[in-house]
Subunit: 218 residues, 2 copies
């Protein structure tokens, strides 16, 4: 409980996020982190028990900083369509905005596709609330008695449209297809995803008047 003591502790936490995000947990050496934080290799094992525990602390810290100063909008705002629009603006800006703590979203994306023991905690703390909120919004856009599987399909379709820019980023770069998130770029992208999603959900809703139905092609 000293003042100067855990100054390096804080320095480690601050410096590690971007590094883990860029190279992943396995490919980021303790040596590298400590060099960046300008301290000895033993520091991470002294202040945190192990590299794995340290990684967990970084994730927790990042979660605090990100979701505290940028709270998720609740579903109760206006019409269902307005709610989805507002929510998508919030989430896509959180996930894709190039500014500030950009690496947190990258870390989450990384953890999603390549789980470490820290994923369970992250799902409970960060991901499940987001998922539940979107599910609630989508449910209001669908007919009353829609099957759970259909609701989920729509939720996943919305999520996928956003996550693709994180999970397939290396490929999109190689295809020269990575959008620029500058001023206009991100806004245009969000608007398109909103339009696309609202129309998509509406089509699913129209297809199932309420009860069960056979597959509809045409």
């Amino acid at each position: 409980m000293s003042s100067v003591a855990d100054e390096t502790r804080a320095r480690l936490l601050k410096v590690a996020g971007p590094l883990f995000a860029q190279h992943g947990f396995r490919d980021t050496g303790v040596k590298t982190i400590c060099d960046a934080a300008d301290c000895n290799v033993a520091a991470v094992n002294y202040h945190f028990h192990s590299k794995q525990d340290f990684y967990g602390a970084v994730l927790a810290e990042a979660h605090q900083n990100a979701f505290a100063m940028r709270p998720m909008p609740r579903a109760s705002v206006g019409t269902p369509a307005a709610a989805l629009t507002a929510w998508l603006w919030w989430w896509m800006e959180s996930m894709l905005h190039p500014g500030r703590p950009e690496w947190l979203q990258t870390l989450m994306a990384r953890e999603m596709a390549f789980p470490t023991p820290a994923l369970d905690q992250m799902v409970k703390r960060s991901i499940r609330p987001i998922y539940n909120e979107l599910t609630a919004i989508v449910r209001r856009l669908l007919p009353r008695g829609s099957r759970l599987t259909v609701v989920r399909d729509c939720v996943h379709s919305v999520i996928g449209q956003v996550l693709v820019y994180k999970h397939a980023a290396p490929v999109l770069h190689r295809l020269s297809a990575m959008p620029t998130y500058q001023r206009g770029g991100l806004a245009r992208l969000v608007a398109n995803v909103v339009t696309f999603s609202l129309a998509g959900i509406a089509a699913i809703a129209a297809q199932k008047p309420s009860s069960r139905s056979k597959k509809i092609r045409r």
Copy 2:
């Protein structure tokens, strides 16, 4: 050029795919692979130059087996909507079908999110043709003079809806939201993605009569 000689070579190639898919390149030891293939650790360095080259050979092999016996439908079939439907059936069955060489898609997904030096080759050989084909289909669903960025947004929205089931699988499992790909499950999922995508693209098309336009909300 012997007969019994490269029998173990073939055995290594056959056995490594699932292992790499399950644990990733870094976390799959040569020891593990050779145990599974029932041969000595030196084999992989004898038949292929290094572990990295061996991995490249596994990817190439997998590509052959997968896309040779399941060719991609060309865009020229019928109406644009029919083309997208046919193409999505092909791609989603290739990506999500639980049967046979399931691990190839998992390997591709892995490579997308966590590139190794083998990604460049994979993009050129496997991914770019797929991407170009879908782009051609989507372009026919949009107005003549649509901007390239808009076409791309739609392509990515379609891709994302499918990839999410690969890239976010660990999370979806923890959310109890992973769909079952049994008999009816996959068909229903594909049908929903088709409906969702066609409506989404139509909405984007309707929104931009052809020239430029300001952001359209609500």
